[in-house]
Symmetry: C2
Subunit: 548 residues, 2 copies
């Protein structure tokens, strides 16, 4: 009979069957899989970002908190998933989905992911992963070498060393950033005399021992929100994640950084970590890493680079110089599920010094014993999947020059789009692309002129209405479902740091064509015309100003 | 030409192709997938736990830290993965792999996982997940209801509320435990008067404000090692995770718990969280949750239950009473990738009070705006995959009564195995199964007799050698690759709390037959005979004792 796709009458024999690997390839489940694949492919080929249905309507399909008391056929449930879940998902791989960092995936990862799921390895320990452990260590080695470019001997010595670790594979950049700052905090407050170290005695005793009134982490005001979580969870406090002023290109001002350090020290607050951002989340800008490295070195601070987004740029020999100085970082975060085009859940943190992670090492009796090569003794997470495998495969199948092309095309496309926006009389580029991110907004042509001659109050008023207009257009465009750009709020220098709502675009998907970019703008222009609440107010004030 | 499986000459056209979803189902990639599936199925049907090859040999295949400078054919790389990775992986789903909590998966999850990978949703925000967000909220609601059994109205009110959260889906139990204790810490040190709360001002200011000399977390000495990580990362300090004595069944002693609390308070250390273990990692025992709940309530402590392993027992109406009192917990950790048979990476933490997670709420400008239903505003992690989907599907396809059968069979099988061990003249059961875990060791029949009449020193000597023997047998059995049990070190009451190495068995795989259990024991007996270093010493001392 082959595989039976329902657990009829819930008896143990049928339950055993669902755990049994079918012998015949043309089983019921095989047919379900084929149908499912076809359907998913159709979905993926669609150029609609999301089918319009209000969230409150979708919630009705997911409103029952009771666990079902009777089983469902696999086929029936699959159809249910296609109807209620797949059709109301966001098409993150659509070429016109250019609003977030989640982009298309190389199609070869679909079959290869099967290996990860079917083998269900747990990388916390060798006893449940074996070859996956050296594989993950190699992947960390590859990324380490990409950043730090140490010698062949270095990697032969440390990559597979039981007592050392070049980094940690994480579920994402947030855990990677927390891990880096955890290591930094523990190394800054390490055992000393009678004091056994912050990891053992906790922060209060640590501060009493070292005589600090506080601990601070410094990052530009464009730092990712995950750093606030890190400061909170690590007991540092969000107020002690000190934001440093940025210049007109959203890059940290080194002078402001030095001033802030001075101020903190005068209050007896220890700045133990400085973070350089290599690819700000909102605008894709890169801090002057070399200068930060100098300052961190002089001040004896841990230098962490959050390159969750921009780290992949190191793959391009044409653009890797944008991140110059990253090789001096004590630790670096890179998300492979961003510009390395890996499915969700592939963050990494790399440490320059193979002994750095000793500050967070831990053991147990049944696994992670001292001297074992279990990866779990240096990770914040415990049980973890074999996701590193997909990074390994992509590195081999795409190869560095392939990634270089992907990075280059994305940056070039962003430059093209920036030029296109600048050529429009009724759009305004807010941030120039450094990587493949840029921000802009819609401003009626005449309003642009009016802003030049407006009084301070008028400018503020227009600005506020333009913010509302941007919000309206972005929301409407998302609801239309043809394309998607995201929205954020910046404080651009050219607008005297007034809070400015902007469209935010991330051009990572290689399938996003120039035509699509043209139509995104065209659609936004059209939507703006339908804003009957805000646009008339803007136009009327514009007229009044210009007629003066 | 369909899909081309190599990026020939690395040009942009070929790169575009790898991101393009193939039209024809019989493309090159389709063939690769078919071959891969066959191969994986063969692997999964194998009854060998792991092919013997020393780790140092395997490492040679993963020793190159350089990212390849030229692309590889997908077909070629797939073969490479099958040869170097798959064949040297651990067969965690083999029925004779009974050493860890990673077990077989229902086979229907293989095709369904495709949905998760192909759609590549990011559940941090609705803009990249849409229907997956309500789905995840429903899954959290289901688990919440399983634990707390609140009314229909309760779930209608809170499950999809933007301002509330019934819990968080995590990469695993470690992050779930950290999240629970993070919430507990922040609620214990919340804003008060001029003090803005630990989340903003950090631990040092918090302790100064509240006048504590330290913060403590209490858990039985059998608590999972992740709690030590949590105490470290949260700034509490590992020494302030205070282990409480357990009884002969590895359950926390309530009197000892109360004494410990008294001692801490007398030192002005605030015990802010008490953890009950529902399924200890090593022996599967469950703390008296109801009694802990009373104490936590009286002391005003957060009561967390680590039910990463045992939580699934709630699915069985026959055994859920073992966890009585869990419904009084402020928070509960459950790992779906353990006894809910979901692939690796599916932890959850549930909070009784839908407002509890406000203590860790955070926002950003471009997502997680106030009032949005973005899941990311209450999670420690940022970007996350749609793993909740697989829990949702299993709940529907297996249903609660199906899970009940799975739980029941695993506990019954553990009882069978315990009886079997007790009937062997040369084995000793160390911990009785409460759930489906048990521990035991090999002790030659005559040595059992000798231990009864031995002097204290002789007993210690025999014990030490038996520890070495257990280690030898476990390692050898793992290397043989026919079956796998794990090993840990306990301090059993019946052996005067002497450190005792034991075999540890987890009987979750429904395909593990009684025959397999018999042969596991038989193999261990045979391996013990081959121990030419330790066994002779044990036998000789045994003889000397018995001849006295």
């Amino acid at each position: 009979m082959g595989f039976n796709d329902k657990i009829v009458d819930v008896n143990f024999e049928s339950l055993l069957r669902i755990f049994t690997v079918p012998e015949a390839p043309d089983s019921t489940l095989g047919n379900i899989e084929q149908k499912l694949s076809q359907n998913l492919n159709e979905f993926l080929r669609e150029h609609i970002v999301a089918e319009e249905k209000p969230l409150s309507e979708i919630e009705k399909d997911f409103s029952n908190a009771a666990i079902p008391e009777s089983p469902t056929f696999v086929s029936e449930h699959t159809q249910h998933l296609l109807d209620t879940l797949v059709s109301h998902s966001v098409h993150t791989s659509a070429p016109s989905f250019i609003g977030h960092m989640t982009s298309a995936l190389p199609y070869f990862l679909m079959p290869l992911s099967k290996i990860m799921i079917a083998l269900n390895q747990n990388l916390v320990k060798i006893e449940t992963s074996k070859a996956f452990t050296p594989l993950e260590r190699q992947v960390l080695g590859m990324l380490h070498r990409l950043i730090y470019g140490q010698s062949e001997t270095f990697y032969q010595q440390w990559m597979h060393s039981a007592e050392h670790s070049l980094g940690a594979f994480c579920s994402g950049g947030t855990i990677a950033n927390i891990t880096a700052l955890w290591v930094a905090r523990n190394n800054a407050l390490k055992a000393d005399g009678n004091f056994q170290g912050v990891e053992k005695e906790g922060l209060f005793n640590a501060m009493m021992h070292y005589g600090y009134q506080g601990m601070a982490i410094l990052v530009s005001e464009r730092g990712h929100y995950s750093l606030k979580k890190a400061a909170d969870v690590l007991g540092i406090g969000r107020s002690n994640l000190v934001p440093v002023k940025t210049d007109e290109n959203n890059r940290i001002c080194p002078n402001a950084l030095e001033d802030t350090i001075k101020q903190l020290k005068s209050k007896n607050i220890k700045p133990f970590a400085i973070i350089g951002v290599a690819g700000t989340t909102e605008t894709g800008n890169i801090d002057p890493l070399d200068i930060i490295a100098d300052i961190a070195q002089r001040e004896g601070c841990h230098f962490h680079v959050d390159a969750a987004w921009g780290g992949a740029t190191l793959m391009s020999n044409n653009y890797r110089s944008l991140l110059k100085g990253i090789e001096r970082a004590d630790s670096v975060t890179i998300d492979a599920h961003k510009q390395l085009y890996i499915p969700m859940g592939a963050g990494m943190v790399l440490f320059k010094d193979p002994t750095a992670m000793k500050a967070v090492e831990h053991h147990a009796e049944y696994i992670l014993r001292k001297g074992s090569k279990d990866l779990g003794s240096h990770t914040l997470e415990g049980s973890r999947s074999g996701m590193a495998m997909l990074v390994y495969s992509s590195m081999h199948i795409i190869s560095r020059p392939g990634y270089e092309l992907l990075i280059d095309q994305s940056i070039n496309k962003a430059r093209y789009f920036a030029d296109l926006i600048k050529r429009q009389a009724d759009f305004e580029l807010i941030s120039e692309p450094e990587l493949c991110l840029l921000t802009y907004r819609y401003v009626p042509e005449k309003t642009k002129q009016a802003l030049k001659v407006a009084t301070f109050e008028e400018r503020q008023q227009l600005h506020q209405w333009l913010n509302e207009l941007t919000q309206f257009v972005q929301k409407k465009q998302r609801e239309n479902g043809l394309s998607f750009v995201s929205r954020t709020r910046l404080t651009p220098v050219q607008w005297n740091r007034m809070e400015t709502n902007v469209f935010r675009v991330v051009l990572a998907n290689p399938l996003t064509s120039h035509d699509i970019l043209h139509s995104v703008i065209e659609e936004q222009r059209q939507i703006a015309q339908t804003s009957h609440l805000v646009l008339p107010k803007i136009e009327s004030l514009t007229k009044a100003i210009l007629q003066r």
